[in-house]
Symmetry: C3
Subunit: 247 residues, 3 copies
C-alpha cells in the first residue's frame, strides 16, 4: 500500500531531478520514504534520489515498486501551485496511481516495472578530490562552456589548490578557476576528466542555484554530484561517465 501527501513544490523538484535523464522510471515505495535510481538510455548519466518520509506531510508505504511515465507525472504535478498539497494513493488492484490536487482527481495508469530499463548501481568510487561548490557556479561554467564546445574538462590542480573548468572550441576557449576562497570547501588531489556537456547541462537544470553541491572528481573517472533537496529531507546524486580525452 502507498498513500502520501506532499507539497507540490517538493514533488515537482523530485520528479525534475530524475526527468532530466529519463522519461520512465521505477519508484521504490519503502517504509522510510521513496527512492529512485535510473540511468539514461546511453548508460552515461545516472541518478540516485531519495526523499524521506519526513519530507511528506503524511506518508504510509510498505515496500512496493511502481513504474511511472515521468513526463506525464511531471505534467500533472505541474498543474498545482507550488504551495498546494498533492495526494497520492496507489490502487494495487488496478495498478493505477490516484493523484488528487484540491479536489481534482487524476488517475494515472502505471507501467510494468519489468518493462523499464534496469536500475543502475552507482559504484563506490575512490575519487581523489572533493569540491563543494554553489549551484550557480556550476551553472556559469556550463553555460559558458556551451558557447565554445560540446565537452568540458573538470579538474583539480593539487599544487595550486584550485578547481578548474576548461572548454576548448575551434577558435575560442573558456576557463574558470576557483580556489579555496571561492569554494565552500575543497579537498584537493590531482584530478582531471572530460565530460559531455549535454549531460552536464541536463543535470545542471535540476540543480538549484543556491544548492551546496558536493562534487567528487578523479583522473579520467566519473564525476559525482551530490546535493540535498526538500530542506535536507531528501538527496540527489548524479554520476556522469567521462569521455575519452581527445589529444
Amino acid at each position: 500500500m502507498f498513500k502520501a501527501i506532499v507539497r507540490a513544490e517538493r514533488l515537482q523538484s523530485t520528479l525534475d531531478s530524475v526527468g532530466v535523464l529519463v522519461d520512465e522510471c521505477k519508484i521504490h515505495l519503502d517504509e522510510g520514504g521513496i527512492e529512485i535510481r535510473a540511468v539514461d538510455p546511453a548508460n552515461v548519466g545516472m541518478v540516485d534520489l531519495s526523499l524521506d518520509a519526513d519530507a511528506f506531510e503524511s506518508y504510509e508505504a510498505d515496500g512496493g515498486l511502481i513504474g511511472v511515465n515521468l513526463v506525464r507525472l511531471q505534467d500533472i504535478a505541474g498543474m498545482a501551485d507550488s504551495d498546494q498539497l498533492v495526494e497520492l494513493e496507489l490502487d494495487e488492484e488496478t495498478r493505477k496511481l490516484h493523484i488528487s490536487i484540491d479536489g481534482l482527481e487524476y488517475t494515472l495508469a502505471l507501467i510494468d516495472p519489468e518493462s523499464i530499463r534496469e536500475e543502475p548501481d552507482l559504484p563506490d568510487l575512490d575519487l581523489s578530490s572533493t569540491i563543494v561548490i554553489e549551484g550557480r557556479d556550476i551553472d556559469r561554467a556550463v553555460t559558458a562552456a556551451d558557447m565554445v564546445s560540446d565537452h568540458i574538462e573538470l579538474g583539480v590542480d593539487e599544487a595550486d589548490g584550485v578547481f578548474y573548468v576548461k572548454a576548448e572550441g575551434d577558435t575560442d576557449d573558456v576557463h574558470l578557476e576557483l580556489d579555496g576562497d571561492d569554494l565552500i570547501d575543497l579537498v584537493a588531489g590531482e584530478a582531471s576528466s572530460l565530460f559531455s556537456l549535454d549531460y552536464l547541462q541536463d543535470m545542471n537544470k535540476a540543480i538549484p542555484k543556491d544548492a551546496e553541491v558536493t562534487m567528487e572528481l578523479g583522473e579520467e573517472f566519473p564525476v559525482k554530484l551530490h546535493f540535498d533537496i526538500a530542506e535536507g529531507e531528501g538527496a540527489v546524486t548524479y554520476m556522469l561517465a567521462p569521455r575519452i580525452q581527445s589529444n
Copy 2:
C-alpha cells in the same frame, strides 16, 4: 454616427471574448451600447456579447452596423497600455473606423457586413441545472482534461448535489467533483453532456480567472456560459453544442 472613448483594457477584453471564436464579426452600434453575436465556422460555438454605453468614458451612436477584421482590431487595441484611452470614430462616408491612442491615429478599413457569416440566434433553452462557478475552476478542469483527452464531460448528479467534470483517455482519467460548498451556487437537476475540449479551451482563454461564471447544463444539450465584463457594464454568453456521447 458612432463616436466613443473607452479604456484600452475594456476594449481589449471585449474583442478577445469574441476573437477566440471568429476572425471577423459584425458590431451593432446601438444607442445603448454595442452588441456582437458570432458563431464559429463549424457552427459549434457561439458568442453573444454586449457592452453598455456606461462602460465607455463617452459614447454616441445611432444604430449602425459595421463589419470588422477582429484580428487587426485586437492588434491595434493591444498597442495601448491597459489604462490608456482609445478613441473610436466611424467615418460613414469612407466606411473607415478611426482609432486614436494618445495622438496615434489608425485608420481601419471596415468589411462589408454582408460578407460576414450570418449572426446566430442563441436559442432559449430550458436547461435542468445551473452552476455558478469561479473562472479559475473552469480553467483547472479544462487544463487537466486536456492532458488525457480531446473531449470533456460536464454533468450534475442531482441526488448527490454535485457538479462534475470527467475526461477519459486511453489509459488515464481526470475527474473533478464540486459540491454546493465548492461552488458559488448550484441548482441541481440531472444533467450530462460531452463537449469538444478545443472549443472549451478557447472560451476558457477569454474567461477571467476571478469571474463568476453561470453555467447552464442539460442532458445531451448545449452548455451556456455567462459572465460579466467591464465591472458589470457588459456581459458575455457563450454557447457550445454537445458532441454525441461515445459509448
Copy 3:
C-alpha cells in the same frame, strides 16, 4: 595594448547598438575611448558609436584596431549580470581578446580587420529639420506603422510646426502628429522622406525608451538619429538612407 574594465550593462548596450546592423565589426581602441563605425551589407543603414574612456571603470589603450565577431561577443557579455564588471585584455601576439567575468575567462579569437566590410563615412548633411523626441515615441510609431506597411514616412510640416509619421497600407493607414508641446524640441523646416521599416525597427530595438533622440530630417534625404549612451559618456548616431517615394 588594450586593457579595460567596464560594467556589463554598458558593454551590452554598446554591442547591441551596433549588433542590430552587422554581425562583425572593427573596433578602434583609441587613447580616449573606443569607436565603432559600420554599415549594413545593403549599404542602407550606418552606425557611428563612441564610448569614452570615462565610461569604463578603468581604460588603457594606445590606438589599435581589432575585428570582432559581434554575435559571439554579445553572447559572452550577456552571461554577466548587468552590474557585474567585465575585464577586457588584448593579447597582441595571439590576436585574441581575453574577457573575464568574475573569474570566468573567455578567450575570443579576433577577426582580421581587413576581412571586414570597410567602415563608412557618415556624411555631413545639411538637413532642414531637427526633432528631439523620446525613444518611446519612436517605438510607438514604428510598431504601429509595421501593422500596415513595410515603409514609413517621416516628415515635418513647417507651417503647422508638427513632426509627423505616416504609414499607408493597402487598406489601413497609421498617422501620428507631434507638435512642439509633445516633443522635447523641434526646429521645423519642410521635410519628408520615406524609409524602410525593417531598418528603423532594428535601430529602434537599440534605442532606450527613455532616451532623448535627436532626429535630423530633410526632403528625400537620409535621417540621422542621435542619442547618448553610458550616461552621456558615449554616443550613437544612426543614419538611414531614404527609399524612393512611391506615387
